[in-house]
Amino acid sequence: MLQLLPVAILGAVLGLDVVSFPQAMISRPVVAATLGGTLIGESSSGLLVGAILELIALETLPFGASRYPEWGSAAVVGGVIFGSHAAHPAGAMTLAVLSALATTWVGGWTMVQLRKLNARWAGKRRDALEAGARGSVVSLQLIGMTADLARGFVLTAIAYALLAPLAAFCIGRWSIDARLSRSMVVGVAASVAGGAAWKLFHSTNGARWLFLGGLAVGLFMLFAQ
């Protein structure tokens, strides 16, 4: 639990990247979970979880006003939880991914609440905004970003504080074989990625054949390794 503060700060910064600033995609799971793992000296563990979450995140792209999960803070939680079990005992990966998914769900809800709050703050300044008051335009923007940073901090801190001990408890009672557990979690993630890719690219000319060609290359490389 000594890690709580740095983990929450990292979650806050990466949560801010999702929408508010700078949207450079440091909040994507492949980056965020790796940074989470790096924070506790387990960058490769973070990358493993990050890759699984990235497969799932392919389905949830940040289209405009739609409600989507918040991956930045959530992937940090997943990366740190998996990295905390450096020997990768059976169930650790499943629980890290599940923790991140639960956090991302709540994170999506907190983003909706923040957007409502932003609207309320803008409403309170309506007259000033209509009068072209520079201070109101700038302060509204800064308040929104500060609130988003605080949102990510609180979300990450609560999620990590609750889910890390729960994950450790479940790992202690895990009864299914480690490789089977890993296969299950990555299989579920890859299924989501496959479905997401289909939804995104099936209307593109020739995409089916290109996908099959890529799959043949991927399988060849996999079995040639």
């Binding site: 995609m25 792209l61 072209g132 520079r134 890859a190 990625a193 000319n205």
Partner: protein, 257 residues
């Protein structure tokens, strides 16, 4: 005030340009369900509006800032085109009604083109390519650096191009939306992403499952069936929520067993 035709050589000071660009990175800072990007657009244009006669205390500044902070919707990266064009229009002294009409007309195209090009194209392509590199056994630094450099090369290039193009063309910027990258880009990126999907999924599976791949064939079949199920169920439940329930059930079975 100079008219639009007489101001083609107008230059935006470097400091103002840099301030606008930095603010563009925070354009969604106060995103909300009422004005959407509106306040963000006003926030980004504000450094340029300081150049209006009378400065920040002048009536021209105040009326322009009020106008630019109203409802606006666009893809956050392509909003740079709007910001550049609107800054130019305000400094050129275009009629407010013309600027309002232009803002309204620009919302739809900048949203849909950006969504298709970036969210449904460039981002998944970079993500899948980094997963393929991960599957090939690349180091942590290589995977993360590849993703960030590749994605942000496109991201920053788009924002810089958008701001420059918007500023150069002002209210006549609509023709720039016919740029081949914006018009044909989503289709071409979609093709590359389809190949990347095929390459990345088996390789990523292989690296996570690890050595001794007796399970690999079964997992590949299960993934194929799972993907089909997710496509079929797409109107009822999103894949990520489904995976949350499936994994929660798996944990319960393993812990209670």
């Amino acid at each position: 005030m100079s008219g639009p035709s007489g101001s083609s050589a107008r230059r935006l000071p470097l400091g103002t340009r840099a301030a606008i660009f930095l603010r563009l990175l925070a354009i969604q800072g106060s995103w909300n369900y009422e004005s959407l990007l509106g306040n963000g657009v006003g926030f980004c244009i504000e450094p340029a509006l300081r150049l209006l006669p009378g400065g920040v205390h002048g009536p021209a500044f105040k009326s322009a800032l009020a106008r630019e902070s109203r409802y606006f919707n666009a893809h956050p990266y392509l909003a740079a085109i709007a910001v550049g064009a609107l800054a130019r229009a305000e400094l050129d002294g275009e009629a407010p009604e013309r600027i309002e009409r232009f803002r309204t007309a620009l919302c739809g195209p900048l949203g849909s083109v950006g969504d298709r090009l970036v969210w449904a194209g460039w981002l998944p392509l970079c993500s899948l390519a980094s997963l393929a590199i991960f599957g090939l056994g690349a180091s942590t630094v290589t995977v993360v650096a590849f993703f960030l450099v590749a994605y942000n090369a496109g991201h920053f290039a788009l924002r810089v191009w958008g701001l420059e193009t918007g500023w150069r063309h002002g209210l006549r910027v609509a023709a720039s939306l016919g740029n081949p990258v914006l018009r044909r880009g989503p289709q071409e990126i979609g093709r590359l992403a389809a190949v990347a999907t095929g390459v990345a999924i088996p390789l990523a599976l292989g690296r996570v499952i690890g050595p001794g791949r007796s399970l690999m064939g079964i997992v590949l079949v299960a993934v194929t069936l799972g993907s089909i199920a997710i496509v079929r169920l797409q109107r009822r439940i999103e894949g990520w929520r489904l995976s949350l329930f499936v994994l929660a059930l798996f944990v319960l079975i393993s812990v209670i067993h």
